[in-house]
């Protein structure tokens, strides 16, 4: 089936980040979003462990392990960077100073609930800064495959896994569509042109609503 690659999902999410926006990207897949800023736009990236305005990874062998992001990957600094301690860092998060946080998800529900930290009681739990970010950033967006590896919907009426946050997600960028969450409903905004409405509805665990035309989700080859 036709679907976007992770790079393409990240590209699409990057198009919605304004010039000068303060942005936190979750560890792993969401970090890719930084690579796809439209020309002329410069977001300022925040990492929970106390850096504002960090840049891309250094060349191999150039790593300084005191200069890392929340995923413990080596990064670099951009002009205008600042260091601060963890309480100040999460003051930025919790105090509503970030314009957007882009995170991954196990499940997203039509009421805006997010599950992305625990797959249940077996395994060792780990939460990091996810629960802070989802109730702190002005806008919480999710990038994710539309379905699990087993083909099961990740967009659901209600989350089944332990919640990260309640009613916190407002937009989901998936491998098939861009979907807003408003008033407890999934609002389909964009979808792959090759995909019919019914097809995408079948892959979604809750009703997809529309309040206007659904745009074509068109992204470059990446």
């Amino acid at each position: 089936m036709d679907k976007l690659s992770n790079n393409q999902i990240a590209w699409r999410a990057a198009q919605d980040i304004a010039d000068g926006a303060y942005v936190n990207l979750g560890i792993g897949f969401p970090e890719k979003v930084a690579q796809y800023q439209p020309p002329g736009r410069h977001a300022i990236f925040h990492t929970e462990n106390g850096i504002l305005n960090f840049g891309e990874a250094p060349a191999p062998g150039e790593e300084d392990w005191d200069l890392i992001n929340a995923g413990k990957k080596a990064v670099t600094l951009r002009p205008g960077a600042a260091f601060f301690h963890h309480a100040d860092s999460f003051a930025m998060v919790r105090g509503g100073h970030l314009d957007v946080a882009i995170l991954g998800a196990y499940e997203v529900a039509e009421n805006g609930d997010l599950a992305n930290w625990s797959t249940g009681p077996k395994g060792v739990p780990a939460v990091g800064g996810a629960m802070d970010l989802v109730h702190g950033a002005k806008r919480v967006a999710i990038i994710t495959d539309h379905v699990t590896k087993d083909g099961q919907p990740k967009l659901l009426r209600r989350c089944t896994l332990p919640l990260t946050g309640v009613g916190c997600v407002t937009r989901v960028y998936t491998s098939l569509a861009v979907i807003d969450i408003a008033d407890g409903r999934f609002m389909l905004r964009e979808k792959l042109p090759s995909l019919g409405l019914e097809a995408i509805q079948r892959l979604t665990g809750a009703e997809l609503h529309r309040d206007g035309p659904v745009a074509d989700l068109i992204v470059p080859e990446l």
Partner: protein, 243 residues
């Protein structure tokens, strides 16, 4: 993202009637006197803004800065810890005739409430003021056998702050004890307006020594030779200053 504005008038142009304005400084140290006087100039020209709620440690000295805002009739309420000063006659008169309301807050509680506003903490408990008149009406709770007062966050629509260095992205440093409440107010205000002695290019401030990261700052204006309110006050100056 360049946060510079072209002048003091532009910096304070969109402060509306009825808003809450946090103003940095402890006495004269850190008082953004040029920004305050620009706000006074605007009020003289337009009659706005007015009905302001001010947050500062003090309530003005002589006929400058905060005191001049009160004297101009722009202020409805002051939230502060210590309204006394060398010459608090303007505030005292406004307080006595009821034209300005006072919310008196212990200094550490004031600082923590402002920080809480900036940090997304809607309420916290403090031992400060337990059993005193200033705790009246506030919830009290016991933790580990000791009583604490619940205090609420304090936020503002606008903060006016005096910095030493800024860069174009809004990273700031301060000068000595002029730091005081300013870094907290930058966090707690929707719009933080900064006057800096010098504005550098992004990267002009060592990332290790930034005190206020730019995320907390919205507008910066360079005031290359700021006056110190204390010097003005000791010289007997009053708003409007002689040119």
């Amino acid at each position: 993202m360049d946060k510079r504005v072209t002048g003091l008038a532009e910096a304070v142009a969109d402060i509306e009637d009825g808003v809450t304005v946090m103003i940095g400084g402890f006495g004269g140290a850190g008082s953004p006197i040029e920004l305050i006087h620009a706000l006074l100039d605007r009020h003289r020209a337009t009659g706005h803004p007015r009905d302001l709620t001010l947050v500062n440690n003090n309530a003005g000295n002589g006929h400058l800065g905060l005191a001049a805002l009160i004297e101009a009739g722009m202020v409805r309420k002051i939230i502060c810890s210590f309204p006394r000063s060398a010459d608090a006659s303007v505030f005292n008169a406004a307080y006595r005739d009821g034209s300005v309301e006072l919310e008196l807050v212990p200094q550490g509680t004031l600082a923590e409430r402002i920080r809480a506003g900036g940090a997304g903490i809607p309420a916290f408990y403090t031992p400060t003021s337990v059993g005193t008149d200033l705790a009246r009406g506030k919830p009290v709770a016991e933790f580990d056998g000791r009583r604490y007062v619940q205090e609420r966050w304090l936020k503002a629509d606008v903060a006016l702050v005096k910095a030493e260095l800024a860069d174009t992205q809004g990273n700031l440093t301060y000068r000595m004890a002029a730091r005081n409440f300013s870094p907290l107010m930058c966090m707690a205000a929707t719009q933080t307006i900064v006057q800096a002695r010098r504005i550098l290019a992004a990267g002009g401030i060592d990332p290790e020594v930034v005190v206020t990261p730019g995320i907390f700052v919205q507008k910066i204006v360079e005031v290359a030779s700021p006056v110190q309110e204390e010097d003005l006050a000791r010289a007997g100056a009053a708003y409007p200053l002689e040119a």
